[in-house]
């Protein structure tokens, strides 16, 4: 994994913070959905944003996929765009859990709701640990027809330099459901994050 100038300690620190944020998010979601939710973070990778489209091309190439993007802004220059990608068939599973009945709301609304919940619970957990707080822009759906995923991602990641790729697997009690989350961050935000990580490491 490319570390783009992160030291081993900084990377370890970031991984741990993300794991804890995931733990907090999964707990919240489990209570909200009234079911056992397991959020796994097998890996995080920090890559150049231009690499992102290729990364996901394979996984989403032949499926009907959707992409929901939401901006986040915090203190100390922490900001970026969070993108959640899923296969449409998976999205239907979780909508049932959120209490949506068929035809209740439009598919787009359901997707934005789910994504917003996933993104904000996770990012809030992250922010808490670095003593920051975040505000969010409204989520927007950039849904995709087959094969368009790559072009969409290219367009979105075009003006960001770095991407933090967080692979999330949700396991619900009797289903499994997969989605990917990417956090796109501008160059100076990476430096800011490194500074924050160093500060945390100093405390210990």
């Amino acid at each position: 994994m490319s570390t783009l100038g992160f030291s081993e300690e900084q990377r370890d620190c970031l991984q741990e913070i993300i794991n804890v944020a995931m733990g907090l998010a999964s707990d919240k979601l489990a209570r909200f959905l009234n079911t056992f939710v397991h959020l796994q973070v097998p890996s995080i990778a920090l890559v150049g944003a231009s690499h992102i489209p290729a990364e996901f091309e394979n996984r989403y190439q032949d499926t009907e996929a959707a992409l929901v993007s939401q901006g986040f802004f915090g203190n100390e220059g922490v900001r970026g765009e969070a993108i959640v990608l899923y296969q449409m068939e998976n999205a239907h599973k979780i909508s049932a859990l959120l209490g949506y009945e068929v035809g209740d709301v439009s598919e787009i609304e359901m997707l934005t709701d789910i994504s917003s919940i996933l993104t904000t619970t996770f990012l809030n957990g992250l922010a808490d640990q670095i003593e920051n707080s975040l505000s969010y822009s409204a989520p927007r759906v950039l849904s995709s027809v087959k094969g368009d995923m790559s072009a969409l991602l290219k367009n979105t990641s075009f003006h960001w330099e770095h991407a933090l790729k967080v692979d999330i697997s949700y396991q619900l009690i009797d289903h499994s459901f997969n989605c990917d989350m990417i956090l796109l961050i501008p160059g100076e935000a990476v430096t800011n994050i490194q500074r924050i990580l160093d500060r945390i490491l100093e405390d210990y």
Partner: protein, 323 residues
């Protein structure tokens, strides 16, 4: 006064609505924007349920959204593209806008403050009516543009370019699924004389009327287009030669008996029609089929006009003009 910490000169001036509710949906605060647009007074509605104060709220949906904000302590959003509005409020520009109610972008934010004794939710309502109206105009323009791309400006039937495209597609489809396909080409008899007699306005008038009339005689699946000045074509999918001839003869007869009133004068016209069926082995390009129908049309003219002729398999050249 309760919630003095919420009262601020900024909230009073803000051009967006702010409503603060608790976990039982009771109103704790609303700002001047809401007071003015909804014609309510904070003093009168404070403590009441939001559903009692605002009519026609999507109750189940809104409750679910608000609960998620409280449970997860994360914001929730709704855009005008999903739901045009949540709160039925008149908007700021009643004269120029075509929409009656304010289109809204809503954010629902968890309020955490030491001064709040219980968890509260702040509902932020932004007026998105301009975007909504703009989007509607844009959609309308796009539809019209698309129609313009397909339509013949005068007669409103399909224009030649689009009609020929459709012909190619229908030929494809016909060959793929082995369904018959026929083509009628026709034109107005002695159109030049008509133009001379009634002027171009009269000529145009006749074209428009006739196109409309003939269009009403066709099935939805038939594709009617303007091929030239006074020449038209009809693509008949799933139709064999016999069926097409029947249609053509019906049209021919009806047109001959169709009186049009122009400048208090009655105009009657007739058409000559050529019919051809797609012969997959013979017609390799759409031009080939057109040429066959054209040959038949020419024969119809030569045979005296106001009639239907069909292309006979094997014919390869136009009949010589019989003086």
């Amino acid at each position: 006064m309760p919630h003095a910490w919420l009262n601020s000169p900024i909230l009073a001036q803000l051009n967006s609505g702010v409503i603060v509710v608790d976990d039982e949906y009771r109103i704790h605060y609303l700002n001047a924007f809401i007071e003015r647009h909804a014609s309510v007074q904070l003093s009168e509605v404070q403590g009441k349920s939001i559903f009692a104060v605002f009519a026609d709220l999507p109750e189940a949906w809104l409750k679910r959204k608000l609960m998620s904000v409280l449970d997860l302590k994360t914001p929730a959003f709704s855009s005008w593209e999903q739901r045009q509005y949540i709160f039925k409020l008149p908007h700021l520009r009643p004269i120029t806008s075509s929409s009656q109610y304010m289109a809204q972008n809503c954010s629902m934010l968890p309020l955490s403050s030491e001064q709040a004794e219980q968890p509260l939710i702040c509902i932020l309502i932004e007026d998105a009516t301009d975007a909504f109206v703009y989007q509607q105009h844009l959609s309308k323009t796009l539809i019209e543009l698309e129609r313009a791309n397909r339509q013949d400006g005068l007669t409103k039937v399909l224009n030649r370019r689009y009609w020929e495209e459709q012909l190619k597609q229908e030929i494809h489809r016909s060959q793929r699924y082995h369904h018959p396909l026929s083509l009628i080409l026709f034109d107005l008899d002695k159109f030049k004389d008509l133009n001379d007699k009634y002027g171009h306005l009269g000529g145009d008038f006749v074209l428009v009327q006739l196109a409309s009339f003939i269009g009403s005689l066709l099935r939805d699946s038939d594709l009617f287009g303007r091929y030239g000045g006074e020449e038209f074509g009809i693509i008949l999918p799933d139709t064999s030669l016999d069926g097409a001839i029947e249609v053509a003869e019906r049209i021919c007869l009806a047109v001959a008996e169709y009186p049009m009133l122009f400048n208090q004068q009655t105009i009657r016209v007739s058409v000559s029609m050529g019919v051809a069926e797609l012969i997959p082995k013979q017609h390799l390009l759409h031009d080939d089929l057109i040429r066959c129908a054209d040959m038949a049309l020419y024969n119809a003219k030569r045979a005296g006009r106001n009639r239907v002729c069909s292309y006979l398999a094997g014919e390869t050249e136009y009949q010589k003009k019989v003086n």
